[in-house]
Every structure is written in C-alpha cells, then in structure tokens.
C-alpha cells in the first residue's frame, strides 16, 4: 500500500531530511505471462494501464518501456491542454480528456500542476478570422467554452503582444478557451505510474520490444530484450515508433514520424500568464512555473527518428515570436530539443483495434497528444478490455482510412499544438 501524499507526509518527511520517502513505483523483472501488455511507458501508456486496472479489473498488466518512463514525448512537449477542436468527434474526445484533467491531481493523489490559465489562438488574416469564428461556434454547440476576442480584447488579455497594425502579420483577433491551460508533464507520467503500480501493474523499464509473436490472426506474446513474455492482449502506445512496432506484426499504418522541436529560455519573472498560439506565423509560447518561456516550434517536413530537428525551424519560430513579442528580443534561449511525432494524414489520432486479434494501437497523436493523456488512456483501456471502442473513440478507428470517413482536424491542429 502506498502512503498517501499530504501536507502531513510532507512535514513528516521534512523532519527526516526527505530521506525516507517511499519508492513511488517498483522496478520488477517481467513475469512469464500477463493478461495485457502495454508497449510504451509514456503518459498515454501509463494512463492506459492505470484505467485498465482501475475500471476494468485487469490486475495482471505490464507496461514495457525501452528507455525510462516519461522520457519520450511525455517529457518533451510544451504541456498545452485544450479541447477547442472543430469536429464533433474531436470535441468529444478532447473535452473528455479535459474533464479528467480537472480532477486528475485528486484522482492520482499527485500534483500534476494543472493550471487553467487559458489558451488564446490568434488570427492574422481574414481567412483565420473566418476559420476561428467558425470554430468558436462549433465549440459552443458542443458545450466547449470558447469566445472570440477582437484586437483590443486580445491586447487586454495579454498586454505584451504587439497588436500594432503595421507588423507583417497583424493581429486581427483571436479565440480564447478559458478552461484550457498547462500541466506539469513529468508529474503526469509519474502520477499514473505510481497509481498503476499501486494496483499491481508491473512497470518494466529498459525493456525494448523486438518482435510480436503471432499465431495465425491472433497475438501470442512479445519478444523483448528481457526475453519472451506471453500475453494475448497487446496495446501499443509507442508514439513516433508506432510504425516500427506495427512492422513487427506485418502491419502498415498511415503514419509519418517527424521531429518536432521545442525550446525554453532563461527563467524570468512572470510576464505571460496564459498560453498564446498562432497558426499563421507558427509560434506558441507560455511561461513555466520556473519562469522559463516555453516555446514550441514546428515539425520538419521529412521522416526522421533522430530526436533533433533542423535549425531553420527554430529560426523561423523565433522570428515569429519576436515580431509578436518585441519585449523578448534580448532573452537568451537555454535548451532546445526534439521529439518524434507520428502524424496521421487527417491530423487526428488512431485509438483502434486492428485486424490482428488482441493487437490494439493508440497512435497518430502527431504534434498534440499530451493534452489528451487521461482521455486517451481511459478510452484505450475501454477498447482493450471490451475488444470494442467506446463511443467517444469509435470515429478514431484505423478503418477510417479505407472508408474515407476522416476526422480532418488540420484547421485546428495543422500546427504543432
């Protein structure tokens, strides 16, 4: 039984120099067999294991992670959470996640530092204005809070934005979702890991999947760097490496894996208390609790698994940031990094069964999966446990690329988000 975190446990451990904190999750060797194995120990994978154990009563579950948990895209994103998507299917999916975020710290007894500071999306040309107003209306019809702000209101909400009409891409207005915001990404992985481990889930790090054993049209187990593990339910949540795992099972996915970059500045005093995104000039910025500006750049246009990304992408992003925020012109950037994102042709995810029995994929989140972490885990767990999708992820099946029933979110999600 894990000790509950509280102000009392904090005081108690402070008195013993913080040397006696209980280990948050174990480090077991894999068993010979599991009821279900989740491949990928990022936020989505750990959340899947957590909800499988909690809501679907599976107890014998393992999460396999080739590196360390939360060391992939979970720890590399810019932590933005929002649900203002255009289409009904996406609105349902992302707002389900947002509702889970609102109670996640209590649910996990782990402070994920969820902060509903609002997300503002800027419009810089007439088409942006039309698209964003349409999106605002669509959001409100789906019960998602969204308001349109004119230029003066944008300036009032975030005074450091340059709203002068003579800049290259003047700010013509923007949308605001007040329930949106940010969270601490590492804490999300750690909170789910601790919660899942408490219910008996084995979290096995440094264990890479090398092959999928099939018997006809069903799976029998996984070849890993720690030996063969038997199971008849495999949930793959491997983000940029989804295609690599799919190839092991002889499957092809509609994905392309590309490097997406982000960077942070030196820490400064509070200057921007919201998240501002701009599709047209392709820049987004927020400020972490440490005071660093967190800046998102774009993806490279080519397939790569290098976790780096090109310098010209960073240059273009910073040009856009400086035009919108001249106040940042003398800030120094501290760190830059890349993650590999798996992008679907319609910029919507896949949470789906496959034509191989017992093999499930949760992938294609592209540039914006972090925001969906709790919802993605919950719905994927439902799909694995029941061998049927939940009604909220039914539209996000693999078959949509055959039927043509795509969920085209390029308007809401074409940029990194």
């Amino acid at each position: 039984m894990k000790n509950k975190y509280s102000v009392f446990s904090l005081i108690k451990n402070a008195l013993s120099q913080h040397e006696n904190w209980q280990q948050a999750w174990g480090n077991p060797e894999p068993k010979k067999e599991y009821e279900a194995i989740i491949v990928g120990g990022g936020g989505h994978g750990l959340a899947t294991a957590y909800y499988l154990a909690k809501k679907h009563n599976l107890k014998n579950i393992a999460v396999l992670e080739k590196g360390w948990i939360g060391g992939g895209n979970t720890g590399r994103n810019t932590t933005i959470i929002r649900s203002n998507y255009l289409w009904d299917a996406s609105a349902g999916l992302y707002d389900h996640a947002l509702k889970l975020w609102e109670n996640l710290s209590q649910e996990l007894n782990y402070n994920v530092m969820f902060s509903q500071r609002g997300v503002m999306n800027l419009a810089h040309n007439l088409q942006d204005v039309r698209d964003l107003k349409r999106r605002t209306h669509a959001n409100r019809l789906n019960g998602i809070d969204a308001v349109w702000l004119n230029t003066e209101e944008v300036k009032k909400f975030c005074p450091i934005i340059n709203t002068s009409p003579d800049i290259r891409y003047p700010v013509l207005g923007g949308t605001l979702q007040r329930r949106a915001g940010t969270a601490r990404h590492d804490a999300v992985a750690w909170g789910y890991a601790r919660g899942a481990n408490e219910m008996g889930v084995d979290i096995i790090q440094n264990c890479e999947v090398k092959g999928i054993k099939r018997n006809g049209d069903r799976v029998e187990g996984l070849e890993t760097t720690k030996g063969f593990i038997k199971t008849n339910k495999i949930g793959v949540v491997a983000a940029g490496h989804s295609s690599v795992i799919a190839n092991m099972a002889g499957l092809k996915l509609p994905l392309e894996s590309k490097p997406l970059q982000a960077l942070v500045s030196e820490p400064v005093k509070p200057i921007i208390d919201t998240v501002v995104m701009s599709n047209a000039v392709h820049a987004y910025v927020s400020q972490s609790d440490k005071g660093e500006l967190v800046i998102g750049a774009g993806t490279d246009s080519y397939v790569s698994y290098t976790q780096r990304g090109s310098h010209n992408i960073v240059e273009e992003t910073l040009k856009a940031i400086l035009e919108l925020y001249p106040i940042f012109s003398r800030m120094k950037m501290l760190r830059q990094w890349g993650g590999i994102v798996d992008i679907c042709p319609d910029a919507s995810p896949i949470i789906s069964k496959t034509n191989i029995k017992g093999l499930y994929f949760n992938c294609g989140w592209g540039t914006g999966g972090f925001k969906a972490t709790p919802g993605s885990g919950d719905l994927f767990a439902h799909t694995i446990a029941n061998d049927e999708p939940h009604k909220l992820n039914a539209a996000f099946n693999l078959n949509r690329f055959v039927s043509g029933d795509l969920v085209d979110e390029h308007g809401a999600a074409a940029v990194a988000h």
Binding site: H241, S243, V244, N247, K252, L253, P254, L255, E256, S257, S301, Y302, V303, S304, Y305, T306, R308, G309, S310, H311, N312, D342, P345, F401, V402, S403, G404
Partner: protein, 93 residues
C-alpha cells in the same frame, strides 16, 4: 539538418529542399478498378521506416527538380542520390 547533393546543382543546405515522402509508390494504372483497401494503401499507408528509406525530394528553392534520395532516418545520413526514372541502387535494402 543536413546537406543534400542535388544531382543538378550540387551540395546545398536541406532547407532549400522540400520532402516528397516515400519514393517508388506506383500510381494506380486503372484507378477506376481499385478497391477501397487498395486506395487506402496507395493514398495513406506508409512504411515510415526507421533505418534506410528511399524517398523523393524537390529542390524547391533551387532548380525545382525532383529526384530520389536514400537516407538513413535513424541518423539522417544520406547514402545515395539518384534521378527520377533511374533504378534505385541495389546495395541498400
């Protein structure tokens, strides 16, 4: 970030080029006779290889010509460049 040896212009910065994705996906000869599965395969399904990949590039800010590249996507090393219509080099699998 890397240099690409354009077969027409020589070595230039990658930012001058645009990526055209996986190479050698054959356009269907009889589009009217394709099944939905075959359309999905042609339009959407990609190998998305981690390792040696054959791909198309366009020198968009240069000669604007298309050509093929063999690149290792795990380290961005370019192994070979060849023109459209030429057979892919056989020493890479």
């Amino acid at each position: 970030m890397f240099l690409i040896n354009c077969p027409f212009c020589g070595e230039r910065d990658q930012s001058e080029f645009s990526s055209g994705g996986e190479a050698h996906i054959v356009r269907p000869k009889q589009p009217t006779e394709l099944s939905d599965d075959e359309w999905a395969e042609y339009l959407f399904m990609r190998k998305n290889i981690k390792g040696i990949q054959f791909e198309r590039w366009n020198h968009i800010h240069g000669c604007r010509k298309w050509f093929n590249v063999v690149r290792d996507t795990s380290n961005d090393k370019i192994l070979s460049v060849y023109k459209m219509g030429e057979k892919p080099p056989v020493n890479y699998k």
